[in-house]
């Protein structure tokens, strides 16, 4: 066996930049997914039958097709709709749409676990429906489902590697470039696999910190 990690590690500035690109894709994707998740749940609870049906169809469609097919579809569909975006922004949209479908299901589970009496108490206190949804339903619901949401977001972080298929700027596409220059395929991918592992541990501890600081009320 003839391994040479030297030529790969010599490119460490590019690898670090790529890791930064992956982190950026992941965090932007999470924010978009969370927004789509909350919006989807709000629409489903609004009582609008057509809106609810569309949300259900969206969730089922996204959860039962591969991300790779979704990202290709979005990549080719946006220009036809007259929207020209660079691959990285396209990847963020695809990640947000994909993660959003899972987030809708997760957050909905949390919202349904909030006792009805809590909503009624809010009404009795004279809060507006929007305030009730935000303060009395959404916040405790997010706290309840935060563990499932974080494991979904770890999956989203790992999914960013598929964005290489549309040449978005992230770690895997950087690795493919280095692979093309050096022909050290195994060494490159082994190295960035370790980097992904470190990244997912980093994000997991980030979530642990959020759990301890944001979601400790009312115990503290």
């Amino acid at each position: 066996m003839n391994l040479d990690f030297g030529v790969v590690w010599a490119r460490w500035p590019e690898l670090l930049m790529g890791l930064g690109g992956t982190l950026f894709l992941a965090l932007s994707g999470m924010v978009l997914a969370l927004m789509i998740g909350v919006l989807g749940v709000a629409v489903r609870r609004s009582g609008n039958r057509i809106g609810s049906a569309l949300v259900i169809a969206f969730v089922e469609l996204i959860r039962n097709t591969p991300f790779l097919v979704q990202i290709f579809f979005i990549f080719f569909a946006l220009p036809l709709a007259g929207v020209r975006l660079n691959p990285t922004v396209t990847a963020i949209i695809a990640l947000g749409v994909n993660g959003g479908a899972y987030a809708i299901e997760i957050i909905r589970g949390g919202v349904e676990s909030i006792p009805k009496g809590q909503t009624e108490a809010g009404l009795a206190l004279g809060l507006r429906p929007g305030e009730i949804f935000r303060r009395i339903i959404l916040k405790p619901a997010l706290r309840a489902v935060f563990p499932s949401l974080s494991s979904q977001f770890i999956l989203l972080t790992l999914t960013t590697s598929i964005a290489t298929s549309i040449s978005a700027y992230e770690l895997t596409s950087v690795a493919q470039r280095i692979d093309g220059d050096t022909f050290r395929s195994f060494e490159v991918y082994f190295t960035i696999t370790a980097m992904y592992l470190a990244l997912s541990w980093f994000i997991m501890s980030l979530f642990a910190v959020i759990t301890r600081t944001v979601f400790t009320y009312p115990t503290r």
């Binding site: 066996m1 039962n64 991300f67 569909a77 999914t159 895997t172 696999t193 997912s200």
Partner: protein
């Protein structure tokens, strides 16, 4: 530029066949090795448990695409020459063993401890305890999550397209490049995946609801 006719559709269906075959190999291999991972994960010896914990952490903490790449490019370095589909099948099997191992670990630990204690009191040995008492109950408990993972695995086989293996998604890419109709082609490809995955998802969630009702 050509249209999407019967030859193109047949090409996609042949890709679909490979997708199904890869899923089947990964799932069957994953069941066999996943059972090993689950049993090692709940072993009495700590160092054995740690090995399984590490195996699961590596596969759940890295992208499936990287697992495919490392196996695909790594096997030849160790003198193992396998065709592309073989490398993909090995990677999918290892991936599935970690995920299924973790799912079944949870299910095994969800079987009430009294069951194992009762078996112990009756003098039942480990083999029979696992085979006759714990695993059948754990299997039932784990079914919804196991089906959920099967859907995940089926979708995951699409990544074989990135290493150049012609399964359904790669076939779609090729037809799309030939016909310049990406939306129709990827619409058909997505539709085929949906037809496979959706019934499984519905089955899994119906079973989950029924089990939640039975517990009450």
């Amino acid at each position: 530029m050509s249209t999407i006719g019967t030859p193109e559709l047949l090409f996609l269906l042949r890709g679909l066949g490979w997708t199904l075959l890869l899923t089947a190999i990964g799932f069957v291999g994953g069941i066999v090795f996943g059972l090993v991972v689950a049993l090692v994960r709940v072993a009495r010896r700590r160092w054995l448990r740690n090995i399984a914990v590490g195996w699961i952490a590596i596969f759940q903490g890295t992208p499936l695409l990287m697992q495919l790449f490392v196996v695909y490019f790594g096997l030849p370095l160790f003198g193992v020459t396998v065709p592309a589909w073989g490398a993909v099948a090995i990677a999918l099997t290892a991936h599935a063993s970690a995920y299924l191992g973790e799912i079944w670990r949870g299910a095994i630990q969800a079987v009430p401890l009294g069951q194992a204690e009762a078996a112990h009191a009756l003098g039942i040995k480990y083999r029979s305890l696992m085979r006759d008492i714990i695993l059948p109950q754990a299997f039932r408990l784990s079914l919804p999550a196991t089906i959920g993972f099967l859907v995940q695995l089926l979708k995951g086989t699409s990544l074989a397209a990135i290493v150049g293996f012609i399964e359904l998604t790669r076939a779609g890419q090729i037809v799309s490049n030939q016909t310049f109709k990406p939306l129709i082609v990827f619409g058909i490809v997505g539709g085929l995946y949906f037809l496979l995955c959706w019934p499984l998802s519905l089955w899994g969630s119906r079973m989950e609801r029924r089990m939640a009702r039975d517990r009450r």
